[in-house]
Structure formats: C-alpha cells, structure tokens
C-alpha cells in the first residue's frame, strides 16, 4: 500500500523533472560559451534551414518560439518575461521598446557582416546609428488589385471609394493602416495625432463601408485570387504571394502615398546568451544564409550582398524578385512611402476610432 502510493507519486514527479531538465548538448564550437539560443519571432519568418546551418556551424541549439503580433510580444516582455535572446520587432515597436527600456544595445564589433546591409536601410529614425537593431526584412503596405477583374485600374486610395468597387475590397484588419489610408486620402499625415483629423478620417471610412467585403490580416491575397475581392490594402508579402499565383494581381503605391515597414533583429534586456545572439545576427547576414529567407518568404531583403549572391546563384529567382513591385519597389514607389510611427497617447484615439468604425 505504502509502496504503491510512493510509486504513484514518484512517477509524475519524475515525469515533471524529465520534462523540465535540459537535454545534454555537445560543447559549443567556434569559441562561444553558450549552447542555446532563444529566438522569439513571428512564425514562418526564419527558415528552418538557416537555423540548422547555424547549429551545424556553432553547435548552438536554437529554440524558436513564436508570437503573432508585435503587441503580443510587447505585452509579454513588458510584464517581465525573460529568457529570450533575440526578438524581431517592427519599426514603430522598436521605438516603443526603447522608450520602455526593454532592449539592450548590440555589440556591433561582433557583427562585421553588418556591412552587407544596403546603406539606404541602415540608420533609420527609430534607431539612429544602429545601436540596438539590425534590419531583418523590410517591405511596403500598399494597394493590390486584380488587373482584369477590377472595373478600372486604381491609381489612388480615393479610387477605392468608387461605387464600382462595391463589396469588392479587402482591407487589413489593422487599427493604424486603415485609418492611415483615410488620413492620407484627406491629405493629412498618416501618423496624425489630432483628434479632429482622426474624427474626419473615421467619417471617411464609414463612407467606404459599402465597398468593404472583408478585413483580413492573415491572407488577404486569397480573396483576390479567388476573385471574391478586386482590390485591397495589404502588405507586400501578401501581394507577392498573390502575384505568384495569379499574374494579374498588381501592386502599386497610390498617389497619396503608402506604407513602409522594417522588421529588425534586436536583443531584449537581460538576454541569457548574448554571445550566441551576436553570432546569430552575424551569421544571418551572410549572403548565402540571408538569401534563404528570401527564398521562402516573399518580403524585401535589405541585404545587398545577398541579392548580389542571388544574381549568380539563381538568376531566375533573381529576375522574379527584381521584376515585381512587391519585392523590389522602384524608386518612385519608395519615395511615396511613409513609415508608421509610434503615436504615443494618441494610440487610444486610434483604438477608439477603430472600434467605433467597425461597430457601426
């Protein structure tokens, strides 16, 4: 009786221990003291091949945990969660995190490959001098439409308000991008903090309502491919996926302007394996590795050396990348982009606008 009870308490306890104990790892090669790296990023954003190559070279096991939005990641880190070595926040989120003191500076001497980054993408407003971040992927947020399905080829955001697009628009489910679009149509700044301007933007959006088929931030291109929608606001990655499926899907920056985003590798405060983190960033900047990302995910790669490498290693893929505005926007496109900036206290105004607009 006693033995049975002892055994039945030991087994769960042992299971618990087994579950929590770290697995034995071979000693790290290449002079690193850490044997593990805790990566916290968007899902489907870092190719498994890249992680495997990194482990093969440095003997460091990579734990790839995922989040599905910047805000989720911020909530967790702000509440005090630690243990992550690398996160990949977007531009405006870097500004927020720096203000909250959540990031540690990078040791740029350990990242000589930083020179591979195209100079126009370095030194952004949210991190002058790249002390805390290294660009990972970048892209745009603009207008995608189906050339043959759409009644006419839209050239501006205002075109989407045309009754010909009734019930045929797909928009991102985003409380900054959609109001930002309305602000730009009205001629205001996309990052406006004026309550009056936001009120006008809300009314403008309400006028658009009859044209909106659905809100979708996960796969807006699907609606364009199936023909359920004819145009919409989406990220370049989605447009590229759509274009690969159906060449009639085009992606332009409207007259009023469009969005620009950067995702960046950065190190949270108190990262347990900073040396492995630096090694990873440096490794990921190597042309052959960086191009793996472009091969799997159709975003724009800020690594100039990687694109040069692609020209010779896979000319067809290079042509596809360079040929479409979603992956390789021409200078006229880029000149009309505006990045989303942190609006501080006005964030509540945007939230209210969005909630009220969707509720009406």
């Amino acid at each position: 009786m006693k033995l049975k009870r002892l055994v039945s308490t030991l087994i769960p306890a042992l299971l618990l221990l087994a579950a929590c104990a770290p697995a034995a790892r071979p000693p790290a090669a290449s002079g690193l003291t850490s044997t593990e790296l805790n990566l916290y990023a968007w899902s489907e954003y870092v190719p498994q091949q890249l992680l495997d190559d990194f482990t093969a070279k440095y003997g460091v096991k990579v734990n790839y945990d995922t989040y599905s939005s910047n805000e989720e990641m911020l909530a967790k880190l702000q509440a005090g969660a630690s243990g992550y070595d690398l996160v990949i926040p977007s531009d405006y989120m870097v500004a927020v995190m720096l203000k909250l003191g959540l990031l540690d500076p990078l040791n740029m001497t350990q990242i000589p490959n930083f020179g591979n980054i195209d100079r126009q993408f370095a030194d952004q407003y949210y991190d002058p001098g790249n002390k805390y971040t290294v660009p990972y992927m970048w892209g745009t947020t603009a207008l995608a439409y189906h050339k043959t399905n759409a009644p006419f080829e839209p050239k501006s955001w205002a075109d989407l308000w045309d009754p010909a697009f009734e019930n045929k628009l797909v928009l991102l489910d985003d409380s900054r991008e959609v109001p930002g679009m309305a602000l730009q149509v009205l001629g205001f700044d996309k990052n406006s903090t004026s309550a009056d301007e936001l009120e006008q933007a809300k009314h403008k959006l309400v006028e658009l309502k009859p044209n909106i088929l659905l809100f979708n931030s996960d796969d807006p291109e699907t609606a364009l491919i199936t023909g359920e929608a004819w145009a919409g606001l989406m990220w370049n990655g989605n447009a590229a996926l759509g274009h690969a499926e159906d060449e009639n899907i085009m992606y332009i920056c409207p007259e009023e302007g469009c969005g620009l985003w950067f995702d960046n590798l950065s190190m949270p405060k108190g990262a347990p394996h900073p040396d492995a983190a630096m090694a990873f960033i440096n490794f990921m900047l190597e042309p052959a590795e960086s191009i793996l990302i472009t091969g799997e995910f159709p975003y724009s790669n800020p690594n100039a050396a990687a694109l040069e490498y692609l020209k010779t290693s896979d000319p067809d893929a290079y042509a596809v990348y360079m040929g479409f505005s979603a992956t390789n926007p021409p200078p006229e496109f880029i000149s009309k982009t505006t990045a989303l900036k942190d609006v501080g206290d006005a964030t509540t105004l945007y939230d209210q606008l969005w909630t009220n607009f969707k509720g009406e």
């Binding site: 299971l15 929590c20 899902s43 498994q48 599905s68 969660a81 796969d219 199936t226």
Partner: protein, 259 residues
C-alpha cells in the same frame, strides 16, 4: 421505454445538425491532401504535407509539450479539484461562501487577465518561464472546472452512506476508496476529461506563461495560421481529430462493455 419510432422530421433534423458540425471538419481533412500550397482550390492529391508535418521539428516539439502539460496538469487538477468538491460538499466552515466564490473565479475571469497576472507572479517569484510554469498555470485554471463537475455529481450523494460504511468498521481512507470514489467516479472522470481538453486547447494563458523552448501546439498552430495557411496545418488537424475520435471511441466501447 417508449415503443414509438423516431419521427422522420426529428431524424432529418438530427442529421442536419451533425452535418452542420462535421462537414467543415471533413472538408478540412480532405484538403489536407491538396497539392496547392495556398489551399484555395482543390488541385490534386498528395501525401506531401504529412511528410512535411512529420519532419517539422517545431510541431513535434510542440505536440510533445502539449501532451506532457495536459497529462500532468489534469492529474494534479483532478485530485485537487475532487478534494475541493468533497470539502465543500461535506463541511460548513467560517468563510465558506467566500471560499466557494473565489474558487470559481478562474472560470469567469477573462483569460488575458489570468495570463498576465500569472506571468507577473512568476516574475516576482523569479520562476524561470518554461514547462513548469505552464503546468502550474493550467492546474490553476483547471481546478475549478473539475470541482464544479464533481460537485454536480456529489449533489445527490447522501453522506449517510459514508457514515454507514464507517459504522461497519471501515476507516476514512477505505471508505473513500471503496464507497465514495466509485460512486462519484463518473463525475471525476468527466472533470478530468474536461480539464484535459481545456489544457490541450488553451492559448492565451499558455502564451503568457510559456518560456523559451516550451511552445505548445495551440501556440504553434495559431502563429502558423497567422502567416500562411498551408495544408500542413490541415494535416495536423486531421491527425488530431482522428486521434481524439479513436480515443473517445475506445472510451465508449469500454464503457458499454462494463454495463
């Protein structure tokens, strides 16, 4: 027992209800064999995605974690929940009403609040986030569910039976083992099954209390779906549905054999 046959409209209605629930799942399962990556239209038949799934280290790790967490948290929560239910059923003590209400808070409270407050607690106590913290969190929200179900089962239970057993010479532990537990066992098992399901399913609380390397299946699938829904997710869902179906079927067969 009524001799009447089931009227045709009732049969039709039942069939419609089943179809409404299961046809979407069936379509999901069929499309796990689709060759088209974006999975919008049916293009062709392939087992490819199952191959991708079995090679996906992240998913395998997540599945392992999910099962360990569910098993351990269900075990502990069932024991503690049953004890709580028995205590509330048998005894009256100062603070009874408060205890009862407080115990049911995790059922009512929004998961985000529970998740963040648990995270803050773990940070203050300097617990390293990982499988252990997730299990503790799951035990915390599972106990009231188990207690609720067991209490329902205890509702008609006459304490006199326990007293009779003890009058006949059984000590308390024997009474529990031989008299009380067998009677409330259906409730305990239902509670355990509920706790298991809730644990397998949980996203929000798990998200906040997970640490590096301790990702679970719901976390993994949710973020997979966020970016691109390939048929790999369908394949995962198909395997999951089939596995659960087989387990429940086995349970049903075992139960019908006993009666």
């Amino acid at each position: 027992m009524s001799e009447k046959k089931l009227p045709i409209w009732l049969r039709a209605y039942g069939l419609a209800a089943y179809l409404y629930i299961y046809v979407p799942i069936l379509i999901l399962m069929v499309f796990s064999f689709n060759t088209m990556k974006l999975n919008i239209r049916w293009e062709g038949f392939t087992f490819r995605w199952y191959g991708v799934l079995f090679n996906d280290q992240q998913v395998i790790l997540a599945t392992r974690n999910t099962l360990i967490i569910a098993a351990l948290s269900t075990l502990v929560a069932t024991i503690l929940g049953t004890m709580a239910a028995l205590a509330l059923h048998r005894y009256r003590f100062p603070g009874y009403n408060v205890s009862e209400t407080v115990m049911y808070i995790p059922i009512v409270i929004p998961e985000v609040i529970m998740g963040i407050s648990l995270l803050v607690l773990f940070v203050i106590l300097k617990f390293q986030l990982g499988l252990l913290t997730i299990i503790l969190a799951h035990i915390a929200f599972n106990i009231p569910f188990v207690a609720l179900v067991v209490r329902a089962r205890l509702h008609g239970y006459d304490n006199a039976i326990d007293e009779a057993a003890m009058d006949l010479g059984a000590n308390e532990l024997t009474t529990f083992r031989r008299v009380t537990l067998p009677t409330i066992m259906p409730g305990v098992l239902s509670g355990a099954l509920l706790a298991f399901t809730l644990s397998l399913d949980d996203y929000v609380i798990t998200y906040f209390t997970a640490g590096p390397g301790s990702t679970t299946l719901p976390l993994r699938v949710f973020s997979m779906v966020r970016f691109m829904v390939t048929p790999e997710v369908n394949a995962l869902s198909t395997i999951w549905v089939v596995a659960v179906f087989l387990v429940l079927l086995a349970g049903q067969i075992a139960q019908s054999r006993r009666t």
